[in-house]
Symmetry: C2
Subunit: 337 residues, 2 copies
DNA sequence: TATATTTGGTTAAACGTTTAACCAGCTTAA
DNA sequence: TTAAGCTGGTTAAACGTTTAACCAAATATA
């Protein structure tokens, strides 16, 4: 790359100090500089194609106007949808965003956070993986502005914006009950993350409320990594045996897609013999042939709120805000054909 | 945020110059510094929790180890899939990536590029929108390292990695012909972008090769923004009239999804009366009830190659590399049920 | 007339690194 | 004995900004 034009170059050309150029170009001390000279400086900057060096400015001002985003996987539609919202909201405030994917791996997320901090990001938006609590605590100690999104740790007093997972699961299960289901199973990840625990809690509470069986055996957990075979086995177990389920709640979109794929190979009729509710909206089920319902997360609101909260925090508002948004139950009927 | 530990702080604590600390921490001049002192410095750095300030380093070295990525929309699975590959490849070389979405808007992409350059990114990976050729030319003049991805401008000698769009479309159409289609239509965007033109060219060539009608009226173009109604109208026109089509090529995944949605409302039978080939793999068609085919882009290779080419270019290899990857024709049969 | 104040700028330090150039004290070779 | 070379460091400038502090000349105030 060719050498770039600096303030000094402009100053030289116009015959003033670099300080003055800086003042003019940043519209500071406007009353203290003569309009004609200011114009000459601006003109010079324009026809020399001056562009500020943000790195230098950042070093001096200790601000990068950059926010770091750590999601589990940017290729996942949930993450990338969120990223897009955050990007737009950030852009409106002259912020850019560096993203990275933690793959639900605490070690990796720790490394990513460090890298982002080394780059002096002004703040972080994080979807923390399981067992990353200590990282969050460290951020608190270091007084780094951040907000958690989608997930959070219940006994940490941090900013976050997430779903009301208990309520959403509860609502999903009640939908099944209303539709006539009496033995309702749940498929979730074997994971410590609070938001998943809350979904289980909501599921259980809804069953109890309606005096339906809430046995442990109705809840199947699968490893977050080795999906397919496990999922099939779990669903198979729920569907066979003396008292097969007639309703099923998926705790995450990936589970739902894999689950639907398997269920499709079975003779079981959806929704007559098995009615399904899933978490998260997912494109993949766009053309599913049978009706089902899902909990739609307010992605837009989540992203916007998270970004605004972060910008607030960067701007020194030391308050902590915790928001649980309501999920919407959407009943999807197949695209007609 | 609390004040951070700097090289100077370490130097003071150990009682040496900051230069020496820098040398040690960067493993430079290893033979010129005594092992014990080096260890003391490292220890001090460790228990003071020293973390380098990349901004300061970047200012001095004129390198940010950051690459800028401009896609059309990070929320689009194609873009986010690509972004993920690029992220991983970049990370392996200690690069991070700043992303932004141009929304197929040349003005916006210009602004984004400027912002990225202000931040002194070491290079750019771009999926340029239509009418952004001049921006690319400027980058060339400024000798900014960059590589185009997915799209490119045929009369610009730039690095790029994209699909062999002509070949892919050709292959898709031949698939239809082999399956017995005789009147094959195409739905594409009204857009100058070369890669779309190439798809049309491939479509036309395949028809001509097999002596099938290649009339203008078989190609429908819709605006890239106001999709739904336009798409329905276009498909309706192709399907009705004196000689309705029996085969259809979609030039992009969004078109395919909207198209399938509409076709589903029609009495026409897929694939018996209408056989379909689409560009791009898309989750949304996962559970489509009828067989169809699509051109699968080698996303992984595309992202990896683009990143490597960019890193090469950043490392001063002035050669320009142009790669057209082959698309794979995938025939998808419905998930059984 | 003497003193304050305003006007329109300049000077210089600082942000936290990197790195070329330097240097004092030894060791070695001739 | 002396010059050259090595060892293990230090000094200082520089990267491109920002911004507090300063200053001379012109103008206003008493």
């Amino acid at each position: 790359m060719e050498r770039k034009v600096s303030l000094k170059d402009i100053a030289q050309k116009v015959g003033v100090s670099t300080a003055l150029v800086s003042y003019v170009l940043n519209n500071k001390r406007e009353n203290r500089v003569s309009p004609e000279l200011a114009q000459r400086i601006r003109d010079a900057a324009a026809d020399m194609n001056y562009r500020i060096n943000q790195v230098a400015r950042s070093l001096k001002t200790n601000k990068t106007n950059t926010i770091g985003l750590v999601v589990s996987d940017i290729a996942n539609p949930f993450s990338s949808g969120l990223a897009r919202i955050i990007e737009d909201e950030a852009e409106q405030h002259q912020y850019t965003v560096i993203f990275s994917s933690s793959d639900e791996n605490a070690r990796k997320s720790g490394k990513l956070i460090d890298t982002l901090l080394d780059r002096q990001v002004d703040g972080l938006i994080l979807a923390p993986p399981a067992f990353s609590e200590h990282q969050i605590i460290r951020l608190q100690q270091q007084q780094v502005p951040f907000v958690l999104v989608d997930r959070y740790f219940p006994d940490l007093k941090t900013n976050y914006v997430a779903l009301d997972n208990f309520g959403a699961a509860h609502k999903g299960v009640e939908h099944l009950i209303t539709a006539g289901c009496r033995r309702i199973g749940m498929l979730t990840y074997a994971n410590e993350l609070f938001h998943l625990q809350e979904r289980v809690r909501g599921y259980t509470a809804a069953l109890k409320k309606h005096k339906l069986p809430a046995k442990k055996s109705l809840i199947k957990e699968v490893d977050i990594r080795l999906q397919k075979a496990d999922i099939e086995k779990a669903i198979h177990q729920l569907l066979t045996g003396p008292e097969p389920i007639d309703g099923l709640l998926f705790a995450a979109n990936n589970l739902a897609v894999a689950g639907f794929r398997y269920i499709n190979t079975l003779p079981v009729k959806v929704p007559e013999a098995l009615r399904i509710v899933s978490f998260d909206e997912t494109e993949a089920l766009e053309f599913y042939h049978a009706p089902f319902a899902y909990i739609k997360q307010p992605l837009g609101e989540m992203g916007r709120l998270a970004t605004r909260m972060l910008l607030e925090a960067i701007g020194q508002r030391p308050a902590t805000t915790q928001i649980n948004l309501e999920g919407e139950l959407v009943v999807k009927t197949p695209n007609l054909r």
